[in-house]
Symmetry: C3
Subunit: 322 residues, 3 copies
């Protein structure tokens, strides 16, 4: 997304990464190719040494106004592995000027003045990253803005599917769990709707069913979908199973979490051999550990892919090739 910001009275256009939707399939392919490159080189010591110098002298500011250890570590690891210098804060909300009433715009105009090459930021307010991008010359990467967007999560999800199936089209994708409040389901659905012949199956309980806005953009893009309560039948058809937590805090009656929502060895037995099981993690008990050793269990690979996708994004933004 190129966003026009007025910086020092001069109009500049910069690449900011604010939403998974901003990417065309061509751009997504470019990101995946670059992620492949970093994945390959990361598997050997000479490869790692090679990539460890390509962005020396550049700096990432990793500014988390809301803590999220895993996402932060993943961004920071990506930067350090590319040779970037790292400046980090893990809980800026508590310790920073924002607690004194400073506006998001002021905060980011000041940070913009420190001359980072990229700012990756998580914020507790929806739209914070876009507001930051509007006043910053420094490219902003949205690492999550409240209940809003988390574009790098969607890209790593899509990359994981791509690595397993070699494509992002013609797939039957089952989403299970919290489809209403979960940010990941909405964002990945949007990416899948950019590709042809995908079929989405939504499994949830009444309180946490998929929202009408998702149904809306699926319909308008020509992506077919269905809602069902039959976990077993859905799993059988799936190329991809994307499982999430049913968070008790969203339920009027937590005891309504049905037992069938825990994936286990028995339940996945009839899945296709080349299907994959994904999960944004952390999982609690919605996937039984007896599934972990199944080759279709992709959730740990999925987390690792986050590193390569973030390396790719940092690299493409720095080299202005996206």
């Amino acid at each position: 997304m190129r966003i026009a910001g007025i910086i020092n009275n001069e109009r500049r256009e910069r690449m900011h990464i604010l939403s998974a939707e901003q990417f065309s399939p061509a751009q997504i392919e470019k990101i995946f190719k670059r992620a492949d490159y970093f994945k390959k080189n990361s598997s050997t010591l000479p490869g790692r040494k090679k990539i460890s110098t390509i962005h020396q002298g550049r700096q990432l500011a990793s500014l988390f106004f809301q803590p999220s250890t895993r996402t932060r570590l993943s961004f920071e690891t990506a930067a350090v592995k590319l040779g970037m210098g790292l400046i980090s804060t893990e809980n800026a909300r508590e310790n920073s000027s924002s607690t004194k009433g400073e506006s998001i715009e002021d905060t980011f105009r000041i940070l913009d003045g420190y001359g980072y090459d990229i700012i990756a930021t998580r914020h507790f307010e929806v739209g914070a990253a876009a507001r930051a991008a509007a006043v910053c010359e420094t490219p902003i990467i949205n690492a999550g803005d409240g209940k809003g967007e988390h574009p790098t999560q969607s890209l790593l999800d899509a990359y994981t599917i791509y690595k397993s199936h070699g494509r992002l089209q013609g797939l039957t994708v089952v989403f299970g769990g919290d489809l209403r409040y979960g940010r990941t389901v909405r964002s990945l659905s949007r990416i899948l709707s950019k590709y042809k012949n995908n079929h989405l199956i939504f499994i949830s309980i009444p309180e946490l069913q998929v929202n009408d806005d998702i149904k809306g953009f699926l319909a308008s893009s020509g992506t077919t979908f269905e809602e069902t309560a039959s976990v077993a039948a859905a799993l059988k058809k799936a190329d991809v199973v994307y499982w999430t937590r049913l968070q008790a805090e969203y339920l009027a009656n937590p005891s309504t979490i049905p037992k069938g929502f825990t994936l286990n060895k028995r339940l996945i037995k009839n899945m296709k051999e080349d299907a994959i099981i994904m999960h944004p993690l952390p999982r609690v008990d919605e996937i039984d550990p007896d599934v972990d050793d199944d080759p279709r269990a992709a959730y740990f690979r999925q987390a690792a892919n986050g590193l390569y996708v973030r390396m790719a994004l940092l690299d493409l933004v720095l080299s202005e090739k996206l």
Copy 2:
């Protein structure tokens, strides 16, 4: 400030930066020239690459016993941009041995043993940095000690004035807001009192008027000053307007904050064309955002200057040229 410390039974003199007052005008000029160098090189990618290696193999420990995200990030960014390795803690008070009753001297003697090239530290106790310097061979930079000193803030303030007016003498400087408790007003006044023919105008409300100690050192240095309640008349005469927050928590009756203490487009209309408006930030509502686009609004430049001044200080301490 060269401070004699007894380290391993040996007497050593090291440069520590504890107070803005320790610098002579000649040293200040040296710092500003070096800041200019880093500012210039930071504006181009080849320049940035060049400076990014000059202090490779050196380490900054950034030890904040009291959180201050912005000051910390500014110091750390300066170090990383110079190629230094960075070791950081953002809230050592909560997590450290000091909560178990350890003395400041013990804490810093141990840190001194880790062989950093520089320790930048913020502490909640007045005098902490000086106590640290007394037991450390490692150069200490005071990044704020309670209500005490914050020398790099004063230097960046002075640098901002210097960049706009080309001099630190013969200036009319208006200070507005909290003149009693604000650390910045006292420190900048001290620096200005080292130069000739400055005239200071203090605007505040009765509870937050400037202290007698400030009036004392101004008088003894021959710097003229006046106190007034007329914002409009003062702004008209100003070469520099240094505005700060009137913090409600210091007022017996918060409703006594006068409305005239919010700078806005209308109020600054009659200021000189080459005057500048400064603020240590964060601002809340004491400067209206409609001022931001005015070329005289210098507060964001001022914050950015903090980076260059800190790069200059780190560099000069490391090369023992100050």
Copy 3:
């Protein structure tokens, strides 16, 4: 300790550092030689520059699930001084997925996927590091697991004795203070029991006397020991005095802390000339500051030695020479 973990369905053996006990005297000697090398090179700028590149392109993840500023800084400084990239979290417990109910195994399987060269971790649960090692291909260094192990502390303690006496055998070592709950006393006793002709003297109060398990392994290793209440007599015989805090929180009646448990100038007067006084720090009032200038006071050197021992361990693990 080489631990077999099942990673990606493949069996791998990696060096993990989980307990001080895992090391043979030959390995301990190797670690000390390497620590000597880093200590020597750290004393000059050319030496520091030389070692600052040897592990460039490698990364340490410093993951503290429980805060411990000093231990964390020491590990991170060691890594940065060796040229490693650093990814750090100072309080992962509060901010991480573990608060959402994630298992230790899941947390570390994910971190393992980020491809660090070493993970140094402190955790609040006994056994956490060993559980991490069981699922990680990445070498794990235990930086403290609850009331369990803290192997690098024991190694730096042993290294400090070795630097002073040139040997770890034939020594009379006095342990004073909290011998029951203190992790350091147990671990150092275990290391000393691997060497010949050491004699241990334990001084404490009834509530905090040494545990039977320690007496057990000393007896089975042939290390002699005695328990006494006479501080003065014990100090006179000591080659090493290892003093610790009597923590009031462990005492039924805090007023029972005897005054004789504060080491001071007068009390240490009759110690041998080449004896050393150690303490894991922080100290509060169990060692009077008037002891600090005595050449036998080794506790600040001891803390500094932690850096060199950790550099040695990182280096030996990275080069697979341990």
